[in-house]
Amino acid sequence: MADESILSDDFLRELINVGEVDILVGLPTYNDAKTVGKVVEAIRVGLLKFFPRQRAVIINADAGSRDGTQDIVRAASISDLRHTSDVRALRTLHCISTEYSGETNPGRALHTLLAAADLVRAPACAVISSESTTIDPEWVDKLLAPIRRDNIDFVTPTYRRHKFDGLLLRNLVYPMTRALFDKRIREPFPPEYAFSARLGNQLLLADIWGTEAAIGAEMCMTLAALTGDFRVAQTFLGDKTRVDHVPADLVRAMRQTVGVIFSSLESKFSFWSTHQGSQPVPTCGSDHEVSLEPLRINRKRLHQIFVRGIGDLESVLRSILTPETMTQLQNSVTLPEESFRYSNEMWVRTVYEFAASYKKAPISRDHIVQALVPLYRGKAYTFLMENRDATADEVESNVESLCQTFEQMKPELVQVWNGGK
C-alpha cells in the first residue's frame, strides 16, 4: 500500500480525479523549463498516437523548481477542446504536477510516482527524463508496449551514444552490474524506463525510502528487477541527449550507482555469488550504437585529478586497498601522462577491493564511494586515450573486454567477501 504521507492533499485530490488508469508516465523535474515543454509534448503525442483508447495520466514530480517548470507542464495538458496536430484525443488525458523538497528528499520523485501508480492502479508505468530533448513520441510505445503486450516487468533503454559519452557507465556501472547480476543491461541507471505494477509495488514496499540508498532509487529498481522473479528487456530509443554535467555531479552519480550497488551486495550475496558470466537480455532494436563525431574533452584534467587524488587520499586509500594495489597505483602516478594506463585488471581489482571494503566499512561508507571518484577519473583518462582514434566496433570491443575482465575476476571478490585474501 502506498505511503500516503508523502502525497500532499492537493495531489491526492488530483489523483482522485484521475481515477484508475491503464498507463502512467512519470516526469521528474527540477528547473527544467528549457527542455520540459518539448518532452511533455512528445509524451502527449505518443500516448494519443499509440495508446488512444487507454486511460493515461502524465504525472510530474517536481523538486521545487523556481523557473516555471511546473507551469509549463500543466499548460501542456490537453483541455477538452484542443487537438494535437493530426492526433485527436478520444479521451481526457490528465497531466498533473506535484512538488516536493528535492534537496532533503533523495529518491522522492520516484517514490512519489510509485505511490501514485499504486493509488491509481496503473499496470504499466514509464518514467522519462525531463532533459531528453532527443525524445520522439515513439519512445512511449517502445517503453510501454513490452509491459502491456509481452508481460515484461522492466524495460530499459539502449541508445546511440557518442563514444566518449557515458564514461562512468561504460567503465564501471555497466560492466560491474553485468558481472555481478548476470544480465547485460546497457543502462542500469536509466534516464527513462518502464516497469510493471508488480515491480513497482515491490520497490514501493522496500526499506530504502528515507535512507541514503534512496538517492539511487532507479538503480535499486534495476537491481530488484535483475535479482527477483521479473522479466527484463531493453528497447532502442535512438540518440541519447548529451547533458553537460558539472564536476560535482560525478560524486552524486557515484553515490546513485556504485554506492547503491555496493550497498546491495550484502543483501543480494546469495544471488551474485552463485551466478557466473552474464546473459544477454531480449532487446527490441539495437543493443547499442556508437557515434563518432568530434568532441572536445579535457583529458589532461582527468589525469591531473587522478594523480592529485592518489596523493590527497593516500591514508583513505590505504584503509581500502590492499598494499599491492596501493603500490601499483602509486607507481602509476610517477609515469608521464602519455604513458599512464589504468589497465582493465588493475581497475577491476581496485573496484572489487572497494566493494569488499564497503562491506567491512573501515571508514564511512560514503567516503569509500567518494574515494573511488579520482581513481575512476584515471580509468576514464585511459579509456579516452585508448579510444581516441577508435572506430565504433573497436570501442565496443574495448568495453566488452573490460566486461569480460569484471566477470573473470568476480571469483576474487567472492573470495575476499567470504573473508579470504
Binding site: 485530490r13 488530483e14 482522485i16 480525479n17 481515477g19 484508475e20 488512444p52 483508447r53 486511460r55 477538452d80 477542446l81 485527436r88 484525443a89 478520444l90 479521451r91 481526457t92 490528465h94
Partner: protein, 357 residues
C-alpha cells in the same frame, strides 16, 4: 401532404432531406434549391395548417445542419445525429469528453426551433459523423460480432447495446431528457426490448411491439406464422419476459421509471427550453451542466463511470442556493464558497433544482 394534414397529423419527418434536390456538377447535398423548397413548404403549412411541425432527418455535422433552421422559417426541428454516438462513446470511455466537445460545437438555433435528441431509432446506430478511430472504438466496444454492423452503423437496440444493464439504461435516458433538445424514445425502448441480429437489414430492431405475454405479445391476433416480422422469443428479451402489461404492474419496472422521468421532466420548462453551461469538474468521469430558463436553474450531474465517484463542483456563481433533488424532492446542503462535494454511485445521476430562499 394535404391528405395527411386534413386527417390531422401533427408533424412530418422529411427523410434524407439534404439530398432532396440533386444537380449535376455538385455533390447533390445541401443545395440551395433544397432550402428553397423547404421554405416554400413551411410557408404553405404555416398559412394553411398552423401548428404543424416539420422535422429534418439530416445526418450532418451541427454546423451543416444549422441552415435547415434558417431564421425560423424552414424546419422547426432537426435530429442531432452527431451527439447520439458520442453519448454511447462517453459511457464506454467513462469520459465526458466526446459529449462536451460535440455540444460545444453545436451552434445556437432560433428561439422557435429545437433539436431532437435520440438514443436509438428504426435505423442502425449511425457512425457516419465520427472519426475512423472513434468508429473502430464503437465497433469494438458495442458490435464485436460483425453481424451487428451495417452501413457504417450498429443495428442493435438500446437495452442490448447496454448489456441490459438497468443502471446504464436509466443514465442514458437521463442524459436524453436533460440535455438541450426534445427527447425521442424509440418504440419498445421504454420497456427494454431486445433485438434480433439474425434478421436481415435493420429488421432486427423492428420486431413487433411487446404489449403483453399472450398471443403474439398482444401485437396481432393473426397466426404467429403469418406475422411479417417474428416476435422476440428468448428468455431475456422475449415477449413473455419483456412486455408492457407486466411492467405496468410494478412501480420499479423500467416502464414505470420512464413515466416518472417524463413526469419530472415535464414539471419544468427548463430542460426543454433552457440554456446549457457545462461545468468541468476535474473528475472527467462526471458530466455536469447547468440548465437555465428565465428565473429557473437546474443542475444535472451524471456519473458516466461503472464505479463510484467523488467530484467537486465549482458552484460559486450560485452561492446561497439550496439544492433540491428533483425525484425525491429532498434538500441537499446549501452552496457556499467551497467547491460542492458530491459522491455518486456507479452510473448515478442527479437533477437538482436550485432555490434561493
Amino acid at each position: 401532404m394535404k391528405f395527411w394534414l386534413a386527417m390531422g397529423v401533427d408533424a412530418f419527418r422529411l427523410d434524407a432531406v439534404p439530398y432532396l434536390v440533386e444537380r449535376e456538377g455538385t455533390n447533390c447535398e445541401n443545395l440551395p434549391e433544397t432550402h428553397d423548397i423547404i421554405k416554400d413548404l413551411r410557408a404553405r403549412i404555416d398559412r394553411e395548417f398552423p401548428g404543424v411541425m416539420l422535422l429534418a432527418e439530416a445526418n450532418q455535422w451541427p454546423a451543416d445542419l444549422r441552415p435547415y433552421f434558417s431564421e425560423g422559417d424552414e424546419f422547426h426541428m432537426a435530429f442531432h445525429f452527431p451527439l447520439m454516438p458520442r453519448m454511447f462513446m462517453g459511457l464506454k470511455l467513462e469520459d465526458r469528453k466526446p459529449i462536451t466537445e460535440i455540444l460545444q460545437q453545436t451552434p445556437a438555433i432560433p428561439e422557435v426551433c429545437q433539436w431532437c435528441l435520440f438514443l436509438r431509432n428504426h435505423d442502425e446506430l449511425t457512425l457516419e459523423m465520427v472519426t475512423d478511430v472513434e468508429r473502430d472504438y464503437m465497433y469494438d466496444e458495442y458490435a464485436r460480432d460483425k453481424n451487428m454492423r451495417l452501413n457504417l452503423g450498429i443495428r442493435r437496440r438500446l437495452a442490448a447495446l447496454l448489456d441490459n444493464d438497468r443502471r446504464r439504461i436509466e443514465l442514458m435516458n437521463g442524459l436524453l431528457m436533460s440535455l438541450p433538445g426534445t427527447p425521442i424514445i424509440y418504440y419498445g425502448d421504454e420497456i427494454g426490448m431486445g433485438d434480433n441480429v439474425n434478421l436481415g437489414d435493420r429488421n432486427g430492431v423492428r420486431t413487433p411491439m411487446q404489449w403483453d405475454g399472450g398471443w403474439n405479445g398482444g401485437f396481432s391476433s393473426a397466426d404467429p406464422e403469418k406475422l411479417y416480422s417474428p416476435l422476440m422469443l428468448n428468455p431475456v428479451y422475449g415477449f413473455q419476459a419483456i412486455n408492457v402489461s407486466s411492467q405496468e404492474r410494478f412501480d420499479h419496472s423500467l416502464l414505470s421509471w420512464m413515466k416518472s422521468m417524463i413526469r419530472v421532466r415535464k414539471s419544468t420548462p427548463v430542460l426543454g427550453r433552457g440554456s446549457i453551461e457545462f461545468l468541468y469538474p476535474a473528475n472527467h468521469r462526471v458530466l455536469a451542466y447547468v440548465r437555465k430558463y428565465q428565473k429557473e436553474t437546474i443542475l444535472v450531474v451524471n456519473n458516466l463511470s461503472s464505479s463510484a465517484q467523488a467530484t467537486e463542483l465549482d458552484l460559486k456563481a450560485y452561492k446561497g442556493n439550496i439544492l433540491i433533488e428533483m425525484f425525491g424532492r429532498n434538500i441537499f446542503p446549501k452552496i457556499g464558497d467551497l467547491p460542492y462535494l458530491l459522491t455518486l454511485a456507479p452510473y448515478q445521476f442527479f437533477w437538482f433544482r436550485l432555490r434561493k430562499i
